[in-house]
Amino acid sequence: MAKIHVSPRSIVVPGDLIAEGDDVEAESLFIERRGKKFYTTITGLVSIEQVDDMYKINIIPLEGAYIPRPGDIVIGLVEDIGLTHWEIDISSPYKGILTVQEALDKPFNPVTDSLKRYLDVGDYVVAKVIAFDRARDPLLTIKGKGLGRVTEGSIVEIKPSRVPRVIGKKGSMVNMLIKETGCEILVGQNGRILIKCPNKDIEEVLILSIKKIEAEAHTTGLTERVREFIRKERERRGV
């Protein structure tokens, strides 16, 4: 029989004993097993789920850098141009590599052509991580629907650890933001958010609400509070 030592949705810090027993399963990288005991290794929120006879414990980190995973959509900033690749800052300890094969549909000849024509330093791109094994830098692609150079909109940066909260359970938060403001929102897993709004006033309200979510990511009932916040701000500003 499992013994749970913390209450669900409480804040845990490194070294805290979460649970012990044979019927406990850790679902997070940030849970360390020592014998039958499960300890957390990071500051975060615990969630405990009972599936059949197993207790599944998970930790949502509250802080921490973005570690790329294959399949993630990220928003990167072109930092440097090589002969046949771009180096892309994805606000992570590891920089993204975008090769010319993953960017252009036609053959590229570095002798006659320059990469600068397609993406220059300072450009933002929406990209997908195709491979990352920690031994080498993450490989990106901009081939695909919705990927490529960012031509309009604004970028909001938040802490990568707050991204799951901005998206919400099954996208509930981001859908609410879209519905309430009428803006287009694309959340990169690395903590950059691309927004396209009908006008500047709405954009300001949206940025404020994203920053509010970032600051209060660990609290409950946040979606409703942010909804109220947007309505109040829109009323106050008359937009």
């Binding site: 490194p14 070294g15 990288l29 300890y39 990071i42 921490g64 209060e216 609290t219």
Partner: protein
């Protein structure tokens, strides 16, 4: 920083309390009593993680940057992160100005603190990166290295770096034949022995232990136990401080 020519002050007074003879220290504490401890997490905006720790008048600020790309690139390791530590005393931290250049002592302390932190941080989760820990002693009144390690581990946790446990440290000393917890500067200057200890309490492992002076075998065992009790107390305060950072946000927004 070494006794001056001045006469040695009375460090231990023996008093009658409730019919028992107890040792009272120069600042009025009992031998097994810590100084007032204040811990604050997330005090710096630009760092990824930060903490301010006070043991009485000793005040240390720690800042953590990383995991980030290691520069120069050749110092990075393919299978884990490197930890770089800088323990430094501000020129204004002591009674007489300390030169800001790193001294032999500071280089040594940076090394032992780094080794203590390396054994709790899960460096293999962040290969090819560096984690930089800066500890600045703002005011020194004994026990700065242990306060620094306490602050450093909190700053690491605040930066969201995975670690097996927090680290807490405290110094034990032998003053006029009495074992005392959390030794201060005056006591340290005239102590027979001074032993800084840092532990990972939930792992129950000692991560740093140095000893200046002489202790008998029994005294050493008692001193280590005394340090362990002090560390457990500090450990509780550490966890409280880390949680408080988030509770504060909650109350300031809902209230």
């Amino acid at each position: 920083m070494g006794g001056t020519g001045a006469e040695k002050p009375t460090l231990i007074r023996w008093e009658e309390r409730n019919g028992e003879k107890v040792a009272v220290r120069i600042d009025g504490r009992l031998p097994e009593q810590l100084r007032p401890i204040r811990i604050e997490v997330g005090v710096l905006g630009n760092a990824d993680g930060s903490a301010l720790v006070e043991y009485g008048a000793t005040r240390v600020l720690a800042a953590v940057y990383g995991p980030r790309e290691a520069v120069p690139r050749h110092v990075a390791l393919p299978d884990r992160a490197i930890i770089r530590c800088r323990y430094h005393m501000a020129p204004f931290s002591t009674e007489e100005r300390k030169t800001p250049a790193p001294t032999r002592r500071e280089v040594e302390l940076s090394k032992v603190i780094r080794e203590a932190l390396e054994s709790v941080v899960l460096t293999e989760m962040y290969p090819r990166t560096s984690i930089d820990v800066y500890m600045e002693v703002l005011q020194s009144d004994g026990g700065t290295r242990t306060a620094a390690i306490t602050a450093a581990s909190l700053a690491l946790a605040d930066a969201g770096i995975a670690m097996r446990d927090l680290v807490a440290g405290v110094a034990v000393g032998k003053v006029d034949g009495v074992l005392v917890l959390d030794i201060n500067e005056v006591e340290d200057n005239y102590a027979e022995a001074d032993m800084p200890v840092a532990m990972a309490p939930s792992l129950d492992k000692v991560l740093l232990l140095q000893l200046n002076g002489v202790l008998t075998h029994d005294e050493f065992i008692n001193a280590l136990e005394l340090a362990r009790r002090g560390i457990l107390e500090i450990y509780k305060l550490q966890k409280e401080a880390l949680r408080k950072k988030y509770v504060e946000v909650e109350t300031s927004t809902t209230g």
